[in-house]
Amino acid sequence: MEAELSRAIRELLDAHDPATTPVAEFLGARFDAGLAWVHFPEGLGGRSAPRSVQQEVNDAFAAAGAPTLDIGRHGIGLGMAAPTLLAHGSDEVRRRFLRPLWTGEETWCQLFSEPGAGSDLAALGTRAVREPETGDWIVDGQKVWTSLAHEADWAILVTRTDPDVPKHRGMTYFVCDMRAPGVEVRPLRQATGEAEFNEVFLTGVRIPDAHRLGAVGDGWRVAQTTLMNERVAIGGHAEPREGGMIGVVARTWREHPELHTPALQDALLRLWVDAEAARLTSERLRQQLAAGQPGPEGSAAKLAFARLNQQISGLELELLGADGLEYHDWTFRRPTNPSMLEGSPGYRYLRAKGNSIEGGTSEILRGIIAERVLGLPSEIRVDKDVAWKDLPR
């Protein structure tokens, strides 16, 4: 790390004791010193430094005990909204939104998926129509699988602005005020009994044109910025052996010799081997990324872990036998930060079913690997030259 950067960090830490400064104030100071996202421009939390030094900066602050935001609550803002705001927002938008996003004073959610547009996001139908008198946009539609919608201040939102052109070309991207009239958030209950996600109904929601990101009709390209940053976030953290779900079941196995049968033991060992192989694969990916050789293994990690989580949690119930017939609670709940490792075995089994659906289904991921990694031909597209409004649905 260059001397200037080290000095800036030291000065900041000297001026704001991380142990006593309130979080938002400390983070605000870090933003103002250009030490938030160092590769962002000056005045927007950065100092146009190389992106590669960000990790060292983060490590330096972490070593000093500096506060960070809860990633469960602010991950969408930090990981997805921020880079999109930077890349496609007007100066006004970037100045308005980046600082409170960084300090955690404002939280964000993502209004992308719709009941009719899951894997095929570009088929989305939430309409945004421009009001001639004001230039504002009036938005009507329904979004789904929205984490944090009930707590968020702002949303990144993709809409359909021109139904008469093929689907990828008639979309526009906005920042949406989640407190605006016409925004209704309803919990979406899952098979587990709880509601991690929401449905969001948008009825005549007014968005000023100033909150548009990118050109009218260019929403698909803007959304790609968001999604690419989502993919970067997946995988790439080191985990110890038996660190994941396999550790939970291994502990149960060791503590309950009365449950052992030879067949269950071999089934557990197969999964232990697969889990260790998946862990080493992630570790290898992490080392490649650290050595500056990003590989395509990242997309494989999500596929592998979804399958493993499902197999391991399924075996756990078999292993438990009679106790596997129980559940902990079906009462409707809104969990703040659900963890599969801490829940009940039945919860793990059910929740893991979502792992191969959320954030890109396993089927979509296999297609991405086949086409982008192996270079196999794309699916035949029947929807490429058809106006969105004429698509079969």
Binding site: A123, T261, A263, L264, L317, E318, G321, G324, K353, S356
Partner: protein, 369 residues
């Protein structure tokens, strides 16, 4: 059973016309009285058993006493017809205590030649249940959860299926001298357990110095329990078949209607091939389930067919419902969509009456493998 269509061992793996008619009647009743949304709502209600549906099955269709002889108030048919009813009950994940009363308790009483309780269960006036953990496997040791002392029964049995609405429970118990005994009990405390299978809520049965009617003792008691668990394991496969068929049928229909990328998702080859594999699996499950029902009917290799049924059906029904959830995408993971009720039923059924690996171990000992 048509002798022209049996194999060397004499098994009839098809459905007779009478069985198809029975199926149509049960299916029509369930379609009307047990729609998925009502079944889902009932799981969070006070009364998780659908007693009105039970009365309709018993009174209107008369399917509660199919294997019971006519002189005992039954239909004088066989377990084959009971299996057809179970297929339809599985297809609807219907919350009725049919399996506990008309399979487990009835099989035990039939094995004993019992004549007092059986007519009540056959007519459906009374609901019976077998007070063993639902995970109990055929061939395991006689349960010792309940002890007999001074003629009174005491003990706790957890994870009992279909006990919440039961009028009479058959309770395996161990006498002071270690003798296996089977009692009929009406005075048990029965409390619900939060169960993975929301449409078959399990219960804790607590007996505190309760009186019971001694039904059998020693080898008779053991044989009756074996009959109940083996018949249950063999016939549970028919219920699992119904569950798996619902999963396949519903997913195929959804794949035809759900469009993504301008096409029905059922037109994408990877989805097509998975559904084809699933169809093969369900086709095999049907053969296994029919073989199981036929074997208990003819009392031919009952232990082997019971083990085969659960060794195969457990995985097959779980795979079918897991594929249903996955291929439905997000909607299949919601509370509103019934897919989770079938997933929970299938996974619980795979643990019920012994996990598949225990049944495979039993096959090993029966076939010297």
């Amino acid at each position: 059973m048509n002798p022209m269509t049996t194999d060397q061992a004499g098994a009839d793996l098809g459905y007779s016309e009478v069985e198809e008619e029975l199926r149509a009647n049960v299916r029509a009743l369930l379609a009307e009285r047990a729609p998925a949304n009502a079944t889902l709502a009932r799981t969070e209600s006070e009364q998780t058993t659908d007693l009105a549906l039970w009365r309709a099955l018993a009174g209107e269709l008369g399917v509660t006493g199919l294997p019971v002889p006519e002189e005992l108030g039954g239909a004088g048919a066989s377990w084959r017809e009971t299996a057809v009813v179970l297929e339809e009950l599985g297809r609807a994940v219907a919350p009725v205590p049919f399996f506990g009363s008309c399979v487990l308790a009835t099989a035990a009483l039939l094995a004993l030649g019992e004549r007092k309780i059986l007519p009540q269960l056959a007519s459906g006036e009374a609901i019976g249940g077998l007070a063993v953990p639902f995970a109990a496997a055929p061939g395991a040791a006689f349960p010792a959860d309940v002890r007999v002392s001074g003629g009174l029964l005491s003990g706790t049995v957890r994870h009992v299926a279909d006990a919440l609405a039961a009028d009479v429970l058959l309770v395996p118990a161990v006498a002071a001298d270690g003798t296996a005994e089977l009692y009929a009990v009406t005075g048990a405390l029965v409390e619900p357990m939060v169960s993975l299978d929301m449409t078959r809520e399990l219960a804790v049965v607590t007996l505190e110095e309760v009186e019971g009617i001694l039904l059998a003792s020693g080898p008779d008691a053991t044989a009756a329990l074996d009959a109940a668990l083996e018949t249950g394991a063999a016939l549970l496969a028919s219920e699992q078949l119904g569950v798996a068929e619902w999963a396949l049928t519903t997913t195929v229909a959804y794949a035809k209607e759900r469009h993504q990328f301008g096409r029905p998702i059922g037109g994408f080859q990877a989805v097509k091939h998975r559904l084809a594999d699933l169809w093969v699996l369900v086709t095999q499950l049907r053969a296994v389930a029919r073989a199981g029902a036929d074997a208990v009917t003819r009392d031919e290799e009952r232990p082997l067919y019971a083990a085969l049924a659960q060794a195969f059906a457990s995985g097959a029904a779980v795979t079918a419902t897991e594929e249903a959830v996955q291929l439905h995408g997000g909607i299949g993971f919601t509370w509103e969509h019934p897919a989770h009720l079938y997933l929970k039923r299938a996974k619980s059924a795979s643990l019920a009456l012994g996990t598949a690996d225990r049944h495979r171990a039993r096959i090993a000992s029966l076939t010297h493998l």
